[in-house]
């Protein structure tokens, strides 16, 4: 009986395409609801555009346009001045999930896994049935290629509905994508508006033009004319590699010896270090890596963790930089005081990362609670704030020691806090890329960066408070002088105005001579 059941069950087994999987699980990719879906689509397209421009060494100039078609339908257009995409690759990049150039290459970029933009295409197709429209031009002397694309979800493969040359797309090079989807437009926080604004803050080298569904147009001009340093790809660092990954690498390497395997496929492993690892593991450096058995690999892996190695190289990171952060905050928020800190790079699980923080205080900022902006590889994070390592780190700080009060853990007052994490691999809590996972190493670095900024803001606030106190003190004295003069005149018969001017003289003297005793607590009278 059970045999028959087993056979029946066997018949039902089948392979599931990843597109099918994500179609059912769209919330994993940030399409939980119409509001968020609209934002996610814009975000995926803009992130790709920024990445492509920077990769090609072009100062980004990006247009985002959202048109309200009624009945909850929107047409989203994102157009960039990037290098474009060769026509052979266009279908797969936009029409196949898990297809991309950035997966596991050890380089900092906005996109990571080749899911985002194709997921947007999938969502558009699912909700309106309309194919994605892609224009691409790789050079002014080349024609514009136009594609209408669908995704065959059963197979996770692109279906080309239409392909042709056109001259409708006018820029010299770049990509233009048009998607039609069900969505909902809101103006509050967690909106497209907010996303574009925050993107401008941390990408001051980009020019962004944004046409909102209500017809309003915003242009965020460049404040920096230099591209950020291009991040370099890196090989894995031995401290971050897992045993399973090591086994796979050893099996598929083309290296002839363990020694060259170690020096060739990992960063920061020189010849000396490789031999040291082999010695510790009791393995000949000349053995073939492909022939190591499980026990040998386990020993090798353990030794790799023990040997002292340099941290991974950090030119794989592209931080925003303190200057640009300050510029960004100044431009968008007009604070009276602004400070930024780029921490030295650090490492979690073998992945280099770097935390930056900028803080603006007062001026045009009129908030009662601090505004927290979170960024990962220059992309704003708008959802799931409470689950994010950045929020956690901010809440763990004792803000009162910087003269800032705290409400349910969050700092209050006219304060804008921007935290940025740059990394080869951002550990999101979910594929919708909304919050950073709570690794202790990351939280620690965030705390340090935020605290450093907070210290400076605190010092500023204290200084301001001191000035105010000084002014208040003077005004206090001035208010009491006529009173004292009057009473003293009653007692002594001396002219009231003479006493007054005597006291005023003293006050002027104290003012010009801060070292004078009048301004401080001079006596030792007991306070009750």
């Amino acid at each position: 009986m059970t045999r028959r059941v087993a056979e029946e069950l066997a018949k039902k087994q089948r392979e599931i395409s990843v597109a099918e999987f994500f179609e059912k699980n769209r919330h994993l990719l940030g399409f939980d609801n119409p509001t968020k879906a609209l934002l996610t689509v814009v975000k995926e397209a803009v992130d790709n555009s920024l990445d492509a421009c920077e990769e090609a060494g072009i100062l980004p100039d990006i247009l985002v346009s959202i048109k309200d078609l009624g009945e909850d339908r929107f047409r989203v257009v994102v157009q960039d001045n990037g290098p474009g995409i060769v026509k052979e690759q266009i279908p797969k990049i936009f029409g196949k999930l898990l297809y991309g150039s950035k997966f596991g290459v050890g380089k900092q970029s906005r996109g990571q896994q080749g899911i985002g933009i194709s997921a947007a295409v999938l969502y558009a197709q699912l909700t309106t049935g309309k194919p994605a429209v892609i224009y691409s031009r790789t050079s002014p002397d080349r024609p514009v290629r136009l594609f209408h694309l669908r995704i065959d979800t059963g197979k996770n493969e692109p279906v080309i509905v239409k392909e042709e040359e056109t001259d409708r797309f006018v820029r010299e090079h770049g990509i233009r994508i048009e998607l039609e989807l069900l969505g909902k437009y809101v103006r509050r926080r967690q909106s497209v508006d907010e996303y574009v604004k925050e993107t401008a803050v941390v990408n001051p080298h980009a020019r962004l033009k944004y046409r909102a569904p209500d017809g309003k147009e915003f242009v965020f001009e460049r404040t920096a004319d230099q591209l950020p340093v291009r991040p370099k790809p890196i090989k894995p660092h031995p401290y971050g590699v897992e045993l399973g990954v090591l086994e796979r690498m050893a099996r598929f390497t083309s290296a002839r010896s363990v020694s060259s395997f170690l020096t060739g496929e990992f960063c920061r492993v020189g010849k000396g270090a490789a031999e040291e690892i082999c010695r510790l593991a009791g393995i000949k450096p000349s053995s073939k890596p492909q022939e190591l058995d499980h026990d040998q690999l386990t020993r090798l892996w353990k030794s790799m963790q023990k040997v002292k190695l340099m941290k991974p190289p950090l030119n794989c990171l592209s931080p925003i930089g303190e200057d640009l952060l300050i510029k960004g905050i100044k431009k968008e928020f007009g604070p009276e005081f602004v400070v930024a800190v780029s921490r030295p790079p650090s490492v979690y699980r073998g992945n280099p990362f770097q935390i930056e923080c900028a803080m603006g205080y007062g001026g045009d900022i009129k908030t009662e609670e601090a505004v927290i902006m979170r960024f990962a590889n220059k992309v704003p994070l708008l959802y799931q704030a409470s689950a994010c390592a950045m929020t956690k780190a901010i809440q763990k700080i004792n803000w009162s020691s910087y003269g800032i009060s705290q409400q349910s853990g969050m700092p209050t007052g006219p304060l804008v806090i921007a935290v940025h994490m740059a990394s080869v691999w951002i550990p999101y809590t979910s594929e919708s890329k909304e919050a950073i996972a709570n690794y202790p190493e990351i939280i620690k670095e965030i705390k340090l960066a935020v605290q450093e900024c907070a210290r400076k803001v605190g010092a500023y606030i204290r200084g301001k408070k001191r000035l105010m106190e000084k002014a208040m003190r003077k005004s206090l004295f001035e208010k009491y002088i006529p009173e004292l003069a009057e009473f003293l005149s009653l007692i002594t018969g001396e002219d009231k105005n003479k006493i007054k001017s005597g006291l005023e003289n003293y006050l002027r003297g104290v003012e010009s001579d801060e070292g004078g005793s009048g301004d401080r607590k001079t006596g030792e009278e007991n306070s009750e």
Binding site: R473, L476, F477, K479, Y480, P482, E483, L484, F487, L488, L490, I491, T492, E494, I499, G502, L503, N505, Y506, L507, G509, V510, S517, G518, D519, R520, K521, T522, G523, E524, E525, N526, S527
Partner: protein, 358 residues
């Protein structure tokens, strides 16, 4: 010019001179705190050790008190010149106002002017009464006493159910006849009416005097004068609770605020008549226990640390019983034994047996 007036002028001129010399105007105020007040075993009362704090005008945390003190001094000088007296509360009201063009009130609370008056007493070395400032008026008295006050001759034994209303200042009273063996002083006017209705003062040949709660300065001076000038023992009748015992303590040994005036205010041979823990046992008053609150218990511990109670078996016993009972007993609980029990049994018995604490 009275001596007090001269002292005030001296203070004013010192300040004036400092202003003329371009100095930060200051005054020297003797400190009154637990650190400068001690119990003098010989004098058997609290005394103030001389320790000075400087108070400056140009100092944010001093300025308010500085101006208040000068204001009080000016007012006192005016009173003396006019030959009038004024009340603590009057002084407060005289100074209470908002400084023109500001939102600062010169005085917020009577406690501030009261404190300044004490400062002035200390700085000038003059009694408040000499500064022409009186405290509250409160209390009634009857007994076989004839006094002369402001030209009137007043017989305390012929004042109907009301008695003589005790003024705030009794310095100028003249005793014409004092035919009484002692004074019974009590904290409650209702007990006083009980005793008066029962003609206790006549039957026991004594004076009965009451206040409302804490003992006013006028009453303290009146008791001291009756005690010093006519040798009358003062018997204190209060509740069996820390506040009752505190009334007795202040009357006899002085208080921290007025430690500098102990000599003039303390009644050194006052006796504690009741209610005692033994009364509670003897008259079966336990059923009238009223539970003490935590702050009451704390107060008992403070009393136990007073140098004149500490180590004195008789007092420690009382206060520890109070802690043990965790309850207080009011004088009026005696009424449960009969309305006139206090007049007809309790007081006569206790006084006959000299059953008081000292």
């Amino acid at each position: 010019m009275t001596k007090a007036e001269a002292e005030i002028e001296k203070l004013g001129k010192k300040i004036l001179n400092e202003i003329r010399e371009g100095k930060n105007p200051s005054m020297e105020v003797p400190i009154r705190s637990l650190g400068t007040i001690r119990y003098d075993e010989n004098k058997r009362c609290l005394v103030l050790e001389k320790k000075i704090a400087k108070r400056y005008f140009f100092n944010v945390s001093h300025i308010r008190k500085f101006v208040q003190t000068v204001a009080v001094a000016a007012l006192s000088k005016e009173l003396i010149e006019m030959g009038k007296t004024s009340h603590l509360r009057d002084v407060y009201y005289r100074l209470v106002r908002t400084i023109p063009g500001t939102n600062i009130d010169l005085v917020d609370d009577q406690s501030e002017t009261d404190r300044c008056i004490e400062d002035l007493e200390l700085m000038t070395g003059k009694l408040r009464e000499e500064l022409h400032i009186n405290a509250k008026k409160s209390g009634s008295v009857v007994g076989n006493v004839v006094i002369k006050d402001q030209g009137d001759v007043i017989d305390w034994s012929a004042l109907g159910s009301g008695g003589w209303s005790i003024p705030s200042n009794v310095e100028n009273i003249e005793f014409k006849k004092v035919d009484a063996d002692y004074v019974i002083y009590m904290e409650k006017e209702s007990v006083w009416e009980r005793l008066h209705e029962d003609r206790v003062w006549k039957k026991l040949n004594c004076i009965i005097m009451c206040s409302l709660g804490q003992t006013t300065r006028g009453i303290r001076r009146l008791l001291q004068r009756l005690n010093k000038e006519h040798g009358l023992p003062i018997l204190v009748l209060v509740d069996f609770d820390p506040w009752g015992y505190y009334i007795y303590s202040v009357l006899k040994y002085g208080s921290i605020n007025l430690a500098h005036l102990s000599e003039k205010l303390c009644v050194k041979n006052a006796k504690f008549l009741g209610i005692t823990a033994d009364d509670i046992e003897r008259y079966n008053l336990k059923k009238h226990f009223i539970r003490l609150k935590d702050r009451d218990i704390k107060r008992i511990d403070e009393l136990l640390n007073y140098p004149w109670f500490k180590g004195k078996k008789v007092w420690e016993r009382q206060l520890n019983m109070m802690k043990k009972f965790k309850a207080k007993v009011e004088i009026q609980s005696l009424s449960s034994r009969g309305l006139t029990f206090i007049s007809e049994r309790y007081l006569p018995e206790k006084i006959k047996n000299e059953d008081w604490l000292d």
